[in-house]
């Protein structure tokens, strides 16, 4: 008898013809660490919500879910609430109370424990998760990573036997995300906790999972140990969007159709490359074109900024030049002021010293109307801050209306942008009903309707799965062709390596190093892509998966021909 047993579960949302889940059979043993993955919209979130009675979505369900031999619906309320813990995506929305200690105690209060028990459990959790130093703080003051750790700790205080997590790291920066995953690993190893983790960023979780389950279109397509799944995936089509989320070593292994044992970690990947390939010098065909001088459209020189008069300086001599038709990525740790830098570049925040020029004209002298129409646009980190209306189409219309055009021109513009971003199927939907990636796309459409020549993006890939990232990448490419200058602030090393012309490292209030992307990443030792870390001992300047695959393919071809 398995710990969790899902039998023939089929589910469809009300008024939807297609079921979201088709005859799912899945059993999980006690103490297992199971990772569930798949492209967004494949039904993975819906599936895990069926394991937590309190938040099971409404709709037609057939089949059964057994918890420890009992039907989930027949568990007592108290056991259902305490023994199955559920951590959701947004760190912010899950926090209920104003104080950290109160948040930890919240679930225990609901279960009606007495003060002594709560005190002990809260203390235990604070110790285990390292919360002691911020135990008495307000929950508002915490960073995103701390918030998510708090959510996890608050659930662990109820001593669950099964922990379900629905994309818990998608809103976190890479460092906080890997800390979070490490904590999960520790819970599993040290307490024998059963964990079911839904995740699309697999780089770190894949090697530590006991079992990987892959879903596609509402059904389970692979289920087994990471190695077994890696093998099973060999039969999956090369262009399946799911593959983009796999760890780098596995992607390279897969793309080369290698029949050897699949490497899961960077270490194994290095070993595997050494065993199968030789070092070689190589020049990428795609090289940043410096041949003709591009016009500088936005330049910041020595900008200083602080939020309060007596506060600390967030920017200390920040300088950057942005050229027409290029994509620049600004990378750097969390809370170092990257978003502030973007604010200063966009004129939303005013630097107290330094020069900001747009097309050679000082920013101060440009009126807001001039600046934000057909000149500069910002895509905020949270696309929801842009949505005003009830449907995507009226969202687009409301933006066009601000430009004083005739009806025909307005319609033409909307049609163009809809076609460009493939929004046809979304037009009638409510912006809030869309997935994170789709919301980002609609927000981008809104911003692009203002016809900017300079586009500033704040964390454009946050919460996106590999497939949505590809769409965004294509779009950036198009805009670049049209001569739009794009600056993005991002944590996504992989994305910036594949899709930007220049990368800049932001640290301590200014840009400390800035270079053409390939030089930038092949020069860094830690702050670089997984593909580079895996292959740099053989191919010194390969930075993306595609680079490594291309080089390996060349070698294989040469071997066949000779």
């Amino acid at each position: 008898m398995a710990f969790i047993d899902i039998q023939q579960l089929t589910f469809s949302y009300p008024q939807m013809e297609q079921p979201v889940l088709h005859h799912i059979d899945l059993s999980i043993e006690e103490g297992e660490f199971v990772v569930l993955c798949g492209v967004s919209g494949c039904g993975k979130s819906t599936l895990v919500k069926h394991l937590k009675r309190e938040i099971t979505p409404h709709g037609d369900a057939t089949g059964s879910v057994l918890y420890n031999g009992t039907l989930l619906n027949e568990l007592s309320d108290k056991i259902a609430a305490s023994e199955i813990g559920f951590v959701m995506q947004s760190p912010e929305n899950q926090i209920v109370t104003d104080k950290v200690w109160h948040e930890l105690a919240f679930g225990l209060e609901n279960l009606g424990f007495n003060t002594m028990t709560i005190r002990r459990r809260v203390a235990e959790m604070a110790n285990f998760f390292g919360i002691q130093t911020w135990f008495r703080k307000n929950t508002m003051e915490l960073s995103g990573g701390q918030k998510q750790i708090l959510n996890l700790a608050a659930i662990m205080a109820m001593q669950p036997k099964l922990l379900i997590l629905d994309e818990p790291t998608s809103q976190l920066d890479p460092i906080a995300a890997s800390e979070f995953i490490a904590t999960l690993h520790k819970l599993n190893k040290e307490l024998g906790l059963t964990i079911l983790l839904v995740e699309h960023r697999l780089e770190e979780v894949y090697p530590i999972a006991d079992r990987v389950v892959i879903m596609d279109k509402g059904a389970i397509i692979c289920n087994g140990t990471p190695k077994e799944v890696a093998k099973a995936l060999q039969h999956v089509d090369q262009h399946h969007p799911m593959l983009g989320g796999l760890p780098t070593p596995l992607r390279i292994h897969h793309a080369l159709k290698s029949q050897t044992n699949a490497p899961l970690t960077i270490r194994d990947g290095r070993q595997w490359l050494t065993n199968n390939f030789k070092a070689q010098e190589w020049q990428s065909k795609k090289i940043y074109d410096r041949s003709f001088e591009k016009k500088t459209v936005l330049s910041v020189k020595n900008a200083w900024f602080r939020y309060e008069k007596d506060g600390l300086d967030v920017l200390r001599g920040f300088s950057i030049d942005v050229n027409q038709g290029e994509v620049i990525s600004i990378l750097g740790g969390n809370g170092t002021g990257k978003t502030t830098a973007l604010g200063v570049m966009s004129g939303i925040l005013k630097a107290y010293r330094g020069k900001i020029m747009i097309d050679g004209k000082p920013l101060r002298k440009i009126s807001n109307h001039e600046l934000y129409h057909q000149c500069l646009a910002v895509l905020p980190q949270n696309p929801q801050t842009l949505f005003v209306t009830k449907s995507v189409i009226s969202e687009l219309q409301s933006t066009v209306e601000t430009q004083n055009l005739t009806k025909e021109e307005e319609n033409l513009q909307i049609q163009t942008i809809v076609r460009k971003l493939n929004l046809e199927s979304l037009l009638e939907r409510h912006p809030y009903d869309l997935s994170g990636g789709e919301q980002q796309k609609v927000a981008l459409a809104k911003v692009l309707l203002l016809k900017p020549r300079i586009l500033l993006l704040d964390e454009p890939t946050k919460g996106m799965d590999a497939a949505s990232k590809t769409v965004l990448a294509t779009l950036l490419e198009q805009l670049k062709e049209e001569g739009v200058a794009i600056v993005m602030v991002t944590h996504d090393i992989e994305f910036s390596a594949s899709h930007s012309d220049r990368c800049a490292l932001f640290f301590d209030g200014l840009i400390v190093s800035s270079d053409e992307t390939r030089t930038f990443y092949s020069g860094n030792h830690f702050y670089t892509t997984a593909a580079h870390r895996m292959s740099r001992h053989l191919f010194s300047n390969a930075i993306t998966c595609e680079d490594v695959i291309e080089q390996c393919n060349q070698q294989q071809n040469r071997m066949i021909h000779s």
């Binding site: 108290k78 559920f86 959701m88 225990l108 307000n138 934000y372 910002v378 842009l386 005003v388």
Partner: protein, 293 residues
């Protein structure tokens, strides 16, 4: 300045109820002076800066309050002059000063109350009476700063798409303001669903909810409470027996120093000085701890 603040909220709260209650009740000059002196001492001890700052407007207030009484009250026997046939009496002047002292003292005590009885302590005490109310307050305290932050983010995002509240004509500004508000409301409602899910998932709504707090009632709290009650009872009994009565009209009643009134003054002083004594005692213990090492 931390010693008394670390006591259980109920001790702090009752202390202020007693002290402020008695201060407002007694018009006896000696009691007034004791209370004024103690309130000033405690203020200097726990919030010196804002206390000294507040003197700027407290002194004028004191003088004005004192001067108003003789102008409107003409009772009393010792007349010093007539203004428009209205007698100004010494009794009225002194009574005015006494009232003024009392008002200022109460204000000083409330200053100390604010410093020692922080909002979380107050909420904890009243949460005991209604747990549901306490939870609502806690949720609200979380939401208000969240909304403020979100309004900031929305305003910036909207400014960058040409909907700037800070520029343009009035109509445009109103339109932008409404936009921002409408975005905020949609955002709040949408995100509240997830918060509600998170509450449900953690068993909110199960019967027999308990409340937890970080405050614990210790032996020293019980001891302090007992002392407070004894001192309070002595004073209340004293008042019932008429030892604390004092009359300004028709003329001043006599100040008699009996053993029993001396006892009352001492107990009153002790009650009011409790935080100061605790503070000094802790400071003394602390120093002796360090010097022993």
């Amino acid at each position: 300045m931390k010693a008394f603040a670390n006591y259980h909220p109920i001790v702090i709260f009752l202390y202020f109820v007693f002290v402020i209650g008695l201060t407002m009740f007694y018009m006896h000059p000696i009691y007034l002076i004791i209370s004024l002196a103690m309130s000033i001492l405690l203020s200097l001890q726990i919030n010196q800066k804002s206390f000294l700052h507040s003197l700027k407007w407290m002194v004028p207030l004191f003088v004005i309050a004192a001067l108003i009484n003789p102008l409107i009250s003409h009772d009393g026997e010792k007349i010093i002059l007539y203004i428009d046939d209205n007698p100004i009496t010494i009794e009225a002047i002194v009574y005015g000063f006494a009232m003024s002292v009392m008002i200022c003292t109460v204000i000083f005590w409330f200053g100390c109350y604010n410093k020692l009885m922080t909002s979380d302590k107050f909420l904890y005490l009243f949460g005991k009476i209604s747990p549901a109310f306490a939870l609502i307050i806690s949720l609200t305290l979380r939401l208000v700063p969240r909304f403020q932050q979100q309004i900031g983010a929305i305003t910036q995002a909207q400014r960058a798409v040409g909907m700037d509240v800070t520029s343009g004509n009035l109509l445009h500004r109103i339109k932008c303001g409404i936009h921002i508000l409408s975005i905020l409301i949609t955002w709040a409602l949408e995100n509240a669903i997830e918060t509600a899910d998170s509450m449900k998932a953690r068993g909110y709504g199960l019967p027999k909810r308990s409340t937890f707090s970080l405050f614990s009632f210790e032996k020293r709290d019980a001891l302090t409470l007992t002392i407070m009650f004894i001192l309070m009872t002595i004073n209340v009994i004293g008042s019932f027996l008429g030892y604390t009565d004092y009359y300004f009209y028709p003329t001043f009643s006599e100040l008699v120093l009996q053993p029993i009134s001396l006892l009352l003054y001492t107990t009153y002083t002790l009650l009011l000085a409790l935080p100061i004594i605790i503070e000094l005692w802790e400071a003394f213990k602390w120093r002796s701890l360090i010097s022993n090492n």
